[in-house]
Symmetry: C2
Subunit: 142 residues, 2 copies
């Protein structure tokens, strides 16, 4: 049974792209696609380095692993570079995670954790959204 899990104002926050060569990807999205570099960030605990680029009216998150194991490294090994996830901004991340669990959706993160740009984030499992890895994002309040 499919129920509404993303209530209220939901919007696409960013498109996540997994890359092996972060510098080459940054050049592609800034030069070829005419984008604007917004931010570079490393999440040491997650073993990931991120570049945020505003291009074509959309926020792109380029992500590359900084360790030899972990899900992102495995993703690149199996699938190669390419589309990785979609992130949606929600107003109430806990409530959305509760709704998702109640709807029988498998989640990767049962509780919100700290992501890039000071956001609280949580991932749903790809099986929850027909093969699309979905990140839920909530902006800092105040």
């Amino acid at each position: 049974v499919i129920t509404a899990i993303l209530r209220g104002s939901v919007r696409l926050d960013h498109i996540g792209i997994a890359v092996a060569d972060l510098q080459a990807a940054e050049l592609l999205y800034t030069v070829a696609l005419g984008g604007r570099l917004l931010d570079r960030e490393e999440l040491a605990g997650e073993h990931v380095r991120l570049v945020f680029i505003d291009a074509a009216g959309t926020l792109f998150e380029l992500l590359t692993p900084t360790a030899d194991d972990g899900p992102l490294t495995r993703f690149l090994h199996v699938r190669g570079e390419g589309l990785h996830h979609l992130a949606f901004e929600v107003a109430d991340l806990e409530a959305t995670l509760r709704d998702a669990a109640a709807a029988g959706m498998r989640v990767v993160d049962e509780h919100p954790r700290r992501g890039a740009r000071g956001r609280r984030i949580a991932f749903l499992h790809p099986s929850a959204a027909r093969g699309v890895l979905v990140e839920l994002v909530q902006r800092p309040q105040g």
Copy 2:
């Protein structure tokens, strides 16, 4: 050498999602994501059935194959359901294809062809954009 191939006003037109079960995917994007069904279309020559849904401020194209062979069937067989391509709207599709070829980018369609919603479209090869399959879209003029 990376050069600007997408000149002028470029914007994300849609996100393409490959699905095996189109009806289930349509329910997911309309009900769970709160989207609005815009259009259903079958491109007989391409052996693909499409559903367009406006959700989270973004246009999603759900696509499923209608034949047992072809690239979309192979995609689903190898990767399963999930993120398939990004489509960017450009002002001049021929000029963009020329720019892409001049930049050494591999293209799938050397010349524009007719796509969904009366658009002229052309695909770049995933190797042109670090593993992301890119569709270029031009609106009908007039």
